[in-house]
């Protein structure tokens, strides 16, 4: 009976949403603000990747909120999971293929992650995307060798300082130039690695923070015990 009611509810929801979608214009969006950003992004910020210009420039405050959400999730997970007992048994280690593959992938993933982070203002990418790949590099190793322990103390220091660096860059703009998170340091040449002012710095801070945070969070989950001692 409950299943029937839920099924009817979902069918009703589907019908409603499809009726809504049928009336939405597709491919003819008003783009009232978007077109102005597309026109102004080069002169305002100087980054070739306009999406990154929006993420770290025009809507930098949203990015700060997003960073804080990840931080809140990691802190809350740390609070919830607590500490692992010293002598608790580990999960079994992965076989030869897994360990060898993890050893091979680790430097490659780090390289790809760093590349994506620092080229965020030129090609699709940026702090978050690269940071997730950096975290994956560590997590592949943790899955293959569960006995590996990440240094959670160092991780919490890195994530704290990287996040503070993001805010301090913004506050520096506030004190120096009058607006929080205003782009500083000149535009440089469009398309060069060193361009777009403080944006690569913000992107790197975000990449470092996200990478360390996600790695710590996933390692924490992986280390926690499944049964009461």
């Amino acid at each position: 009976m409950r299943n029937l009611a839920s099924l009817l509810f979902s069918l009703g929801l589907a019908f409603l949403l499809l009726a809504i979608a049928a009336q939405l214009g597709f491919g003819h969006t008003p783009m009232v603000v978007g077109s102005r950003i597309l026109a102004d992004a080069q002169s305002d910020i100087g980054a070739a990747n306009i999406v990154t210009a929006v993420v770290f420039g025009y809507r930098g405050f949203d990015t700060l909120g997003e960073l804080s959400i990840l931080f809140a999730a990691a802190t809350a997970a740390g609070l919830v999971l607590g500490h692992r007992r010293a002598g608790a048994p580990d999960d079994p280690q992965g076989g030869l293929v897994l360990s060898a593959g993890a050893d091979l992938l680790f430097p490659l993933l780090l390289l790809v992650g760093i590349y994506i982070v620092i080229h965020g203002h030129l090609t699709p990418g940026g702090g978050f995307q690269g940071g997730v790949i950096l975290a994956a590099a560590f997590f592949v190793s943790v899955i293959a060798k569960p006995a590996l322990r990440l240094a959670h103390g160092a991780i919490s220091v890195i994530e704290g300082l990287a996040g503070a660096a993001f805010i301090l860059i913004g506050l520096w703009a506030l004190v120096g130039d009058g607006s929080f998170l205003k782009p500083l340091l000149g535009h440089g040449v469009l398309g060069q690695l060193v361009s777009a002012g403080t944006m690569p710095l913000l992107s790197s801070a975000v990449g470092l923070k996200v990478g360390s945070e996600l790695a710590g969070l996933l390692a924490h989950i992986s280390e926690s015990e499944a049964r009461e001692p």
Partner: protein, 498 residues
């Protein structure tokens, strides 16, 4: 008049974030310093907000973040209602701060509290729809961590149910924002206010509002997404429940009110809110009548009162917003006071037998709050209910039904609140105590008496308080002034970019 950098409204949002990020590195260096960081930042935020109020004197102003003028960038909009709510945040956070806590657990809890403070301040001050969504999510994630602090199995189950319900609500809000963006192409509230009459006054716009109402209503304890409330308030520490029920819920309601006033100025949207509020109010108070322990009684009672807040805010014009503000702030003070008492009254209602005679102050405070909640003159609760009922009586038949519902609900409230008062003042010595009920303490702490004093002060100064709230309400519904402040007419000198 220019805004100096020390008065910038981004500071009350950004400083707690900075504190939260640096708290754990600081704690490794010096534990005492880490304990002082949180309260110091809250006092600094309060100082910035007070300075802003004194300098601007109630005139609204907008700050474009990063120097990117609206609607390209994000603006913070500071008017009376925003300042009022933003100032309430650090005040109540300081009242319910966990002063006695050591170790890494306490550091994490302080960091989460700072994040909650920052996000809720952002909800009050922001003028951009997606920015509001991001801060709403931050408040949600911070609260997920905070309600699981007691580390009991029941707390975890309550947390995961709250998480799933909240995440689903946020998803619905995101779909609503997607529909809104497809129709209008902008996310700035002032720009949306300009574009709304031509693009959003159709069923599609109403659907978008409904989705956002349900999404943001999760924290506002709106029916039907309020099933998480009783379990979470029963298993979370009382100070966290106080913050969630008292403070965070009001900010969620403020978000919905901004949307209703600025963007979705249609009678159907208001009626939807009225109906959901009324249903929530009646179901909440009926459940409170059946509750058998104090925290859950408070949880259901807060659902009921928030239903009344939604009813009040759904009425158009200055009277609606005035009624809503009156109920909201009254509930903020009373419910926070009740949860402060609940920190020591955790057991079943029967186990509280005779408590009023043993701890005279606690019993007196309980009765004072109960009288105000029910609406006994001359306490502020009476005036708030009167304003709501009078405002409702001036409208159509749906509102008259809501008025009848409020009167019925008042009777139910009186019944269960006085039932507990009778239990408190019972004469028999043999009180059946639950296995984990707290032993009735000799004192009630500082928070509850402080809030009782605030209530009494409001009783004495009821006329100036009402006049002040009326000015706040009048400014809130002035959509033209909002748009003019964010987009100043070109002939005037450019609005301050800071």
């Amino acid at each position: 008049m220019s805004v100096t950098w020390a008065m910038n409204p981004t500071l009350p949002i950004v400083l707690p974030l900075l504190g939260a990020f640096l708290l754990q590195p600081i704690a490794r260096v010096s534990a005492a310093l880490a304990r002082a960081v949180g309260p110091a930042i809250l006092i600094a935020c309060l100082w910035v907000l007070t300075e802003t109020w004194l300098a601007q004197g109630g005139r609204p102003f907008a700050v474009a973040i990063g120097g990117f003028a609206a609607p390209l960038g994000i603006v913070l909009y500071v008017d009376r209602i925003a300042l009022l709510f933003a100032a309430a945040v650090p005040t109540f956070a300081l009242l319910f701060w966990p002063w006695a806590g050591t170790g890494q657990e306490a550091t994490r809890e302080s960091a989460l509290l700072l994040l909650l403070v920052s996000s809720v301040t952002g909800l009050a001050l922001s003028g951009d729809l997606f920015n509001i969504y991001v801060f709403y999510e931050l408040a949600a994630v911070a609260s997920f961590g905070l309600v699981a602090i007691h580390a009991t199995g029941r707390a975890y189950v309550a947390t995961i149910r709250y998480l799933l319900q909240s995440a689903f609500g946020s998803l619905l809000a995101l779909v609503g924002i997607a529909i809104l963006y497809t129709k209008t192409g902008t996310l700035n509230l002032a720009h949306l206010a300009q574009l709304a009459p031509s693009t959003l006054h159709d069923p599609l716009g109403l659907a978008s509002f409904a989705l956002m109402l349900i999404g943001f209503g999760v924290k506002g304890e709106l029916f039907p997404v309020n099933t998480w409330v009783p379990e979470v308030y029963a298993t979370a520490p009382a100070r966290i429940a106080a913050l969630l029920a008292g403070l965070v819920s009001k900010l969620a309601v403020l978000v919905v009110v901004r949307l209703l006033v600025l963007v979705f100025n249609q009678p159907e949207a208001a009626q939807l809110m009225l109906v959901l509020g009324a249903v929530g109010m009646v179901s909440g108070e009926l459940s409170a009548w059946r509750a058998k322990d104090f925290p859950r009684m408070l949880a259901f009672s807060s659902i009921g009162q928030l239903g009344m807040v939604f009813i009040a805010f759904s009425l158009p014009g200055t009277t609606g917003v005035l009624a809503g503000l009156a109920v909201a702030f009254h509930h903020l003070v009373v419910k926070s006071g009740y949860f402060a008492l609940a920190a020591r009254w955790g057991g079943s209602l029967e186990s509280l037998s005779g408590l009023g005679r043993r701890s005279k102050l606690a019993g007196a405070i309980y009765v004072l709050f109960a009288l105000s909640l029910i609406g006994v003159p001359p306490l502020p609760g009476f005036w708030t209910k009167l304003i709501v009922l009078v405002a409702l009586a001036q409208h159509g038949s749906l509102e008259l039904v809501a008025m009848a519902a409020i009167l019925v609900v008042t009777a139910i409230e009186a019944n269960y609140l006085f039932r507990l008062a009778v239990v408190l003042y019972r004469k028999d010595k043999a009180a059946p105590a639950g296995p984990e009920a707290r032993a009735p303490g000799l004192g009630v702490g500082l928070v509850a008496p402080l809030l009782a004093l605030v209530l009494l002060a409001a009783t004495i100064a009821i006329v100036p308080v009402t006049e002040g709230l009326r000015k706040v309400a009048a400014q809130t519904v002035d959509v033209a002034s909002y748009v003019r402040t964010v987009f100043p007419p070109v002939s005037l000198p450019l609005a301050q970019k800071d």
